[in-house]
């Protein structure tokens, strides 16, 4: 290590890999990683991306931010669908759609292909957990997303995390708002709504969230204002200057298409 390790940063990176292997018990530097599209966020994640075979949690900062949290979850689903084969499976316990059911035309405008979405609505949380487990183990879906009514315990979260790891399929979980309980998740993102981006004419140009990565195994936590680019299907760092941020810096392709 001394011979090859030139800089301090490189040595830390090597050590981190060693620690990771010890923690997970399996050497998987080649595990599929999923870039969010924003390098400044990816840098905080181990392996510069979201681990595919892992559990990732999204929580809303307040109850009113649940739609924003769902939007962030949907954005992650779009990122996964872009690189993986198969459908997206959205599992919801009862009363989880208190802000409404996912709307096909809205999903398409957001960038999520509604024809690849399978919606499972269950009567109890228990069934929702079973469904997620079953879906992961079948390896058929590209991504499994779940909305739970009540918080899940550590045992269940470990079980789901293992199911995700064994099938190398990402599991995204929208936990009920004040979720701070123990969990086996690889990452946890806390999402709050933020004023959307606007183009030069003051028209809507993409949604924004204030996102905190408050838990990240083998990585660093962080906090960013993020924007969703529904044309390029990327999460970007949002400029927080003013409401009338010129769009070309954030979204050159979108500008060209629009103009």
């Amino acid at each position: 290590m001394q011979t090859t390790g030139g800089t301090k940063a490189f040595r830390i990176a090597v050590l981190r890999q060693v620690v990771m292997r010890l923690e997970r018990g399996l050497p998987d530097p080649a595990e599929e990683r999923l870039s969010l599209g924003a390098p400044s966020v990816d840098r905080h994640l181990p392996g510069a991306g979201l681990a595919c075979g892992a559990l990732h949690e999204v929580v809303a900062a307040t109850h009113g931010d649940r739609p924003a949290a769902f939007g962030f979850l949907a954005a992650l689903m779009v990122r996964v669908l872009a690189v993986r084969r198969g459908p997206a499976m959205l599992v919801a316990a009862p009363r989880c759609f208190d802000f409404g059911r996912p709307y096909g035309h809205g999903l398409c405008q957001f960038g999520l292909d509604a024809s690849r979405l399978v919606l499972v609505e269950t009567r109890q949380d228990k069934d929702a957990l079973w469904t997620m487990d079953e879906a992961l183990r079948s390896k058929a879906p590209a991504v499994v997303a779940g909305l739970l009514e009540r918080d899940l315990d550590l045992t269940m979260s470990r079980r789901l995390s293992l199911a995700a790891a064994s099938s190398a399929t990402p599991l995204l979980l929208l936990r009920p708002s004040p979720a701070a309980g123990a969990s086996a998740a690889a990452t946890r993102w806390r999402v709050a709504a933020a004023s959307p981006a606007r183009d030069g004419h003051g028209a809507f140009a993409g949604c924004r969230w204030s996102v905190a990565l408050e838990r990240c195994r083998n990585g660093r936590i962080g906090q960013w204002p993020l924007a969703w680019d529904h044309v390029a299907h990327r999460i970007r760092l949002a400029e927080v200057l003013a409401d009338c941020t010129p769009v070309e810096s954030a979204n050159p392709r979108g500008r060209r298409l629009a103009g």
């Binding site: 009113g64 939007g71 059911r101 035309h105 809205g106 024809s115 390896k139």
Partner: protein
């Protein structure tokens, strides 16, 4: 009031069905009478019919003068499974007697002959040899021909007593005097004319049956039994290049109750492990468990619907598009068995301007094309989440026809920072009765950056203040 049915004691006292109750009372002093319940009778017969599915998949109820009062079993090609017709009859009679019933059974080449011999023959169990129908029917009374009461009365008045009397008559005068019906019944009994019968349950495309030496009761045993039947069926399916789309599992309980489970599949399959798994999930979902009581002594598995299935080398096609689709179909099957058919759905676009009508949810296990969203384009902005029904909201607007300034929804007051709109959506007059108002939709952003989809129903008029609704939420 008339007697509908009599038991053997009453018959010994000289009573017959169809007699007036007053006459019967005068003949027998302490006669016990119960009200007839035709609905319960036919329900009981139906249950018995289901039980008879253990002998053959084709069971039909046969009618008498007072509703259905017997069962036809088409045992063509099934008798050898029980060791011949005589053995089948003996088995059937023994089991029926164990239920406390008094069976009258007959096997014949035609349904009509079997009906007549069972009811009017001398013996309890009779087998009419093939081609011997005429011989067997000759000495039976006319009632054995399933004729209307009027025709029977007329024939009796003319001096006909036995079926043989009719067989000796020339056909033309009979047809002229009594109509086609008499000759048709005669021909059907003798096998000269076909007799269409409607079976109790639709006959399956494939069928496997097993009788257990010892009754089984545990779920594990039932699943293992079903697995063996599936192995048998999958060989048949494989031979025909078909896969099962719909299965029916029949469990015959010792006391005559039959448990019937139907299992649908999203894609044709002959995978034993997969279908066994589905049966296990279906058994789990039974509200009262298996209710095995004394145990099940037989089990039938029917393939109700089979579809052609392409040969697939599952092992070599790991990355194949078809393999992914097959994996998904299996997953959907399993989810449907546990959660019910309506729980697993896909969003499909629909031609409509009204937002809630522009999307329809259809079961993912349905046959048919996958949803095509590439062609579905909406004009204005559409929310990520749409409320199942619009929720009324209190709105303050600066100008009557303008966008809202603030609104209260679910008890929370939202100050509006920005609004886009309106997008006017007119009601579809060809769908509605005409009392629906046009809607002006606004995308409204509150000071916290949350965006909502609001609409105003109708326009301001003389003394009319239109209502506002929240219809959806953006991410």
């Amino acid at each position: 009031m008339r007697l509908v049915a009599v038991n053997s004691a009453a018959r010994r006292s000289g009573l017959t069905a169809g007699e007036l109750l007053a006459n019967a009372r005068s003949k027998v002093r302490n006669l016990q009478v119960r009200d007839a319940d035709p609905a319960a009778d036919s329900a009981a017969l139906r249950k018995l019919g289901f039980w008879c599915l253990r002998y053959t998949p084709t069971v039909m109820a046969c009618g008498g003068e007072s509703g259905a009062d017997g069962l036809f079993l088409d045992i063509t090609g099934a008798a050898h499974l029980f060791g011949g017709e005589a053995a089948l009859l003996a088995d059937l009679a023994g089991r029926l007697r164990a239920f406390g019933l008094i069976p009258r059974l007959a096997v014949a080449g035609t349904a009509g002959a079997a009906w007549a011999v069972a009811r009017f023959g001398e013996r309890e169990c009779a087998i009419v040899p093939s081609g011997g129908e005429e011989e067997a029917l000759r000495d039976l009374p006319l009632a054995g021909l399933r004729l209307s009461a009027q025709t029977q009365l007329l024939l009796r008045r003319l001096g006909f007593r036995r079926i043989g009397d009719l067989l000796r008559q020339p056909r033309a005068p009979l047809a002229g005097r009594f109509g086609e019906d008499l000759l048709l019944r005669l021909d059907q009994a003798l096998g000269r004319a076909p007799e269409p019968l409607s079976p109790l349950v639709s006959p399956p495309a494939y069928r496997a049956h097993v009788v257990f030496a010892e009754p089984i009761g545990s779920e594990a045993h039932v699943i293992e039994g079903a697995r063996r039947l599936l192995v048998e069926l999958s060989e048949d399916l494989d031979r025909n290049g078909a896969g099962a789309r719909k299965l029916r599992l029949l469990l015959f309980r010792l006391d005559g109750k039959v448990l019937s489970l139907t299992i649908g599949l999203a894609a044709p399959s002959r995978d034993v492990a997969h279908m066994t798994g589905l049966i296990a999930l279906r058994l789990d979902r039974l509200p009262n468990g298996l209710e095995a009581d004394f145990g099940f002594d037989a089990m039938s598995l029917h393939v109700l619907l089979a579809e052609p299935m392409a040969e697939r080398q599952a092992l070599f096609a790991v990355d194949d598009e078809a393999a992914v689709a097959a994996g998904l179909a299996r997953l959907i099957d399993r989810l449907e068995q546990r959660l019910g058919r309506a729980a697993v759905r896909r969003l499909h676009p629909r031609q409509s301007h009204i937002p809630e009508r522009a999307v329809i949810l259809k079961p993912a296990g349905d046959v048919g094309a996958l949803p095509d969203w590439a062609a579905a384009r909406s004009v204005g902005a559409r929310p990520l989440l749409l409320l199942p029904r619009p929720e009324a909201t209190e709105v303050v607007a600066l100008v009557p026809e303008g966008p809202p300034r603030q609104f209260r929804w679910r008890g929370v007051l939202h100050q509006v920072a920005d609004a886009e709109g309106p997008e006017r959506i007119a009601p579809e007059w060809w769908h509605t009765s005409g009392d629906e108002a046009e809607r002006d939709y606004y995308v409204v952003e509150d000071t916290a950056g949350r965006r909502f989809w609001l609409y105003r129903a109708g326009r301001y008029g003389a003394g009319v203040i239109p209502a506002w609704f929240v219809h959806g939420v953006f991410a």
